[in-house]
Amino acid sequence: MKEQDKNINRREFLNIVGITAASTTATLYGCTPKNEKTPAGRASLAVPTDQMTYRVLPGNEDKVSLLGYGCMRWPTIPSPDGNGDLIDQDAVNELVDYAIAHGVNYFDTSPVYVQGWSEKATGIALKRHPREKLFIATKLSNFANASRENSIAMYRKSFQDLQTDYFDYYLLHSIGGGGIEVFNRRYIDNGMLDFLIAEREAGRIRRLGWSFHGDVEVFDQVLAMHDTVKWDFVQIQLNYVDWKHASGRNVNAEYLYGELEKRGIPAVIMEPLLGGRLSNLPDHVVARLKQRRPEDSVASWSFRFAGSPENVLTVLSGMTYMEHLQDNIRTYSPLVPLTDDDKDFLEETAQLIITYPTIPCNDCKYCMPCPYAIDIPAVLLHYNKCVNEGNVAQRQSDENYKEARRAFLVGYDRSVPKLRQANHCVGCSQCNEHCPQGIDIPKEMQRIDKFVEQLKQETLPV
């Protein structure tokens, strides 16, 4: 059923793509005058086109924009058949054009992103721009079937979908989960690593690297292969919370980055904002950040943090909305590096944030689709929202118990359709292996469900 449904969606998706492929929204942007004067007090709204910070790192002559476009969160529209969503190609084109016009030149995708449509949609949008000015990154996402044939088929299909004959950056996708055995199965035993090294020599891959989540032993071991393989770059999760306070099985970014810097391997940064969790903060944390730099957005702190270390090649952000893209361009046009004071300030902020018991979901949707139709990220995000807004009541005697209860329950039905809520989790655990943050999803689902029951039945302790 799942597979059938996807095929339908794909077919319809192609229709939509066909209509919009020819449409050109390029050159609409990028015409803002260089030093445009804006009315007093609105300076922060200007989006400069020619101020982007670029990084050229030793041993890597690419001039890469500090803001990289993560193609994992492309905007979607409801599918005409009523089942799920499709990529909104017009919106993708618009975002890509705007980004390029404002100096972004690095695009990171994967065959599995956005229900498998990301490469195609990204390819269509990028095809409308000169290839040599862009850096395209994609990945070998051979999670489901790591056979050599399937892996090579996946590799070749990426060329086709991205409409290119070379990749600037190619990654072994998300190593670390499942330990070194899984890494060996996916890349060593099937000879894929050797294959990719040969492809690099042939020029079809300009730079070879990997992205990492999870087991530090895998990180160390694969990094140690640098002497023989020569990794051109490594992609890590880095932000001011994960720097010293990585959650779950994640590794502190301070360590990861330090190891890369030691070896002179450029670092590509992912999850600088934790899927929006670092802009969606409790009120008093927001106030604290805004107080220090009133004109800057909350998110800008995260991007300045991720962009400040000098060995960072680019910082990826999956920008679904134009406003996010504009905000991030502003932050990096040009980057105002963090001072030591700023860093201490953010470390204190991180310590405030970790006192909130949010679930470390970054809404990457790797866990989806749940075969039992639960909208896992939506459930977790609703919970996190309520945590941050103080609507997760602990006891019935809480001062705001009634309001919090209503906000949680009414908001729950609004955020997640009833049939996709946590009480439908059967605990099959098929999702767990996909979660890069190592969340025990069924456990959290059942915990949230139990909490919902306590709210509904009013059986929280008094």
Partner: protein
């Protein structure tokens, strides 16, 4: 003055009862629930002697003001009639009582009650008719209005309103409500209170009493010049101007005639002596009663997804050249079907199928109040339109006793949450072939996890292998039949665990 008092109190009663049938939150019942309980038939079926006594005395003293003020269907007809006679100076005329029809219907009604033909009783009962009309035909608009407010309040980040689901609970009931409404509107629009004086069994019964009521509309034969103005304005068609007589069995004491009389010949005053009645046999308005074909049942509910799945099958062939687990997207939600239950489920507090059948007037107040989309009118002919439960959309949640609070007829007796948690209305049955432990080869246990009485345990499928998948075993002694397991079972379209009803509820 008398008329104004009557109008005002009628408007108050009518709006309040209508609200009862519109309100899906159950909050209004706390304040106004008594309005349903003072209705004649529910009180009779609940054997609420106090109320019956009160209504009899009320009628014995004041005549049928019950019909003019308390009965929502009566007031509803007055509203329609008011629209109908707009612009007409002399809208009505006297017509003799259609006694054979009145008493005929009453006899049928009583016989139906005795024989347990609940459908007939429910169709004829005035209060239930009104409840069905509001619940089936007006409440959806109320809900859509609420949903609009919910939509708006969501935009401004307010939690004041929440969205509710509007769904067709039962086609036969909907059709009956619609036909009743159309018939009533036509009758009332043209002739005022025809229904009340020819069909309504409550009207007929109260008519017996009001014949001897203390206060009556009386015509001063000395002053009266037989102009007939009163008769032409009497919506009950009960004033015979030639004879200067008022048929008190049909008069609903609306007081309209009092002020209309130019000679002040009409008064509402105590009468000591009773008058002899008169009989006339003459013209009758054409009548068709509210029975419709009841056979159409779940015909529409099925067959929808079946067609879709077959078309989808055709697409399955085209395999991806690359095998991968794509990220994101939502699995489609497959339709649920109602399991074939041997015994229908009735809510806790209804004691037994028999008690339900005996007392329920099918007014739909409980269906209106059920927040879990569990209750719906039955499509079964023997207890047509009486509530039954099913768990495709929700289950009988442990914290809710709404239906038992609102029932005016004693069909669902008041229960506390504690009572409810110990009332066995049915028991769960496991259907091995549908269980995802078998079909999907995964661990589940969602039924056991949600069982409020811990009646379900998970045991290894293979007694010798503790690591094998676990299947549910049900301790039917502990099961109360709430349906949490059925509602939350992942198997589609039929669930692997469902609840069979009990003919008589048990306390455990």
């Amino acid at each position: 003055m008398l008329r104004k008092i009557r109008l005002l109190s009628a408007v108050v009663f009518f709006s309040a009862i209508t609200l009862l049938f519109l309100d899906f939150t159950g909050t209004i019942h706390e304040w106004l629930g008594w309005l349903a309980k003072i209705q004649f038939l529910p009180a009779l079926l609940a054997l609420n002697l106090g109320i019956i006594f009160f209504l009899v005395i009320l009628t014995l003293v004041f005549g049928r003001i019950y019909c003019s003020v308390i009965c929502p269907l009566g007031v509803f007809q007055d509203i329609i009639a008011r629209i109908g006679r707009m612009g007409k100076k002399l809208p009505y005329s006297y017509s003799p009582a259609l006694s054979w029809l009145r008493y005929g219907v009453l006899v049928v009604f009583i016989l139906a009650m005795i024989m347990g033909l609940n459908a007939v009783v429910a169709i004829l009962a005035p209060y239930s008719s009104y409840g069905r009309i509001v619940n089936n035909l007006f409440q959806p608009f109320w809900q859509w209005g609420n949903n609009l407010l919910a939509y708006l309040s969501e935009r401004i980040d307010s939690y004041a309103f929440y969205e509710t689901e509007v769904w067709l609970k039962s086609m036969p009931t909907f059709v009956i409500a619609l036909v009743t409404l159309v018939m009533l509107v036509v009758l009332a629009f043209r002739n005022g209170r025809t229904y009340c004086n020819t069909i309504c069994p409550v009207g007929t019964v109260l008519g017996f009493i009001s014949r001897y009521s203390l206060f009556r509309i009386t015509i001063d034969t000395v002053e009266c010049n037989s102009c007939g103005l009163c008769a032409r304005n009497c919506k009950a068609a009960c004033i015979d101007p030639k004879e200067h007589k008022v048929d008190n069995s049909r008069c609903v004491t609306c007081m309209n005639c009092i002020n209309i009389c130019h000679r002040n010949a009409i008064a509402y005053a105590p009468v000591v002596k009773s008058k002899k009645k008169q009989k006339d046999v003459s013209e009758k308005p054409g009548q068709s009663d509210g029975k419709v074909n009841l056979s159409r049942r779940r015909a529409l509910s099925a067959t929808v997804l079946v067609a879709m799945t077959t078309t989808l099958k055709a697409q399955e062939k085209k395999l991806e050249e690359v095998e991968m687990k794509k990220d994101g997207g939502l699995a489609p939600i497959k339709e649920r079907k109602e399991p074939p239950r041997q015994t229908p489920l009735t809510p806790p507090g209804s004691l037994s199928a028999r008690n339900m059948a005996k007392h329920c007037t099918a007014c739909q107040l409980c269906v209106t109040a059920c927040p879990n989309q569990v209750l719906r009118p039955s499509g079964d002919l023997m207890n047509l339109m009486q509530p039954e439960m099913s768990y495709e959309r929700g289950y009988c949640r442990p914290e809710c006793v709404k239906c038992s609070e609102v029932c005016p007829a004693g069909a669902i007796r008041p229960v506390t949450k504690a009572d409810k948690s110990a009332t066995q209305i049915g028991h769960a049955v496991w259907v091995e072939e549908y269980c995802i432990v078998h079909t999907d080869d995964v661990e589940c246990g969602n039924c056991a996890r949600h069982c409020p009485t811990e009646a379900i345990q998970m045991v290894a499928i293979d007694p010798d292998d503790k690591e094998s998948h676990k299947i549910p075993v049900i301790n039917t002694e502990r099961c109360i039949g709430c349906g949490a397991c059925e509602n939350l079972c992942p198997s589609r379209p039929f669930t692997a665990i469902y609840v069979e009803g009990h003919i008589a509820h048990r306390i455990i």
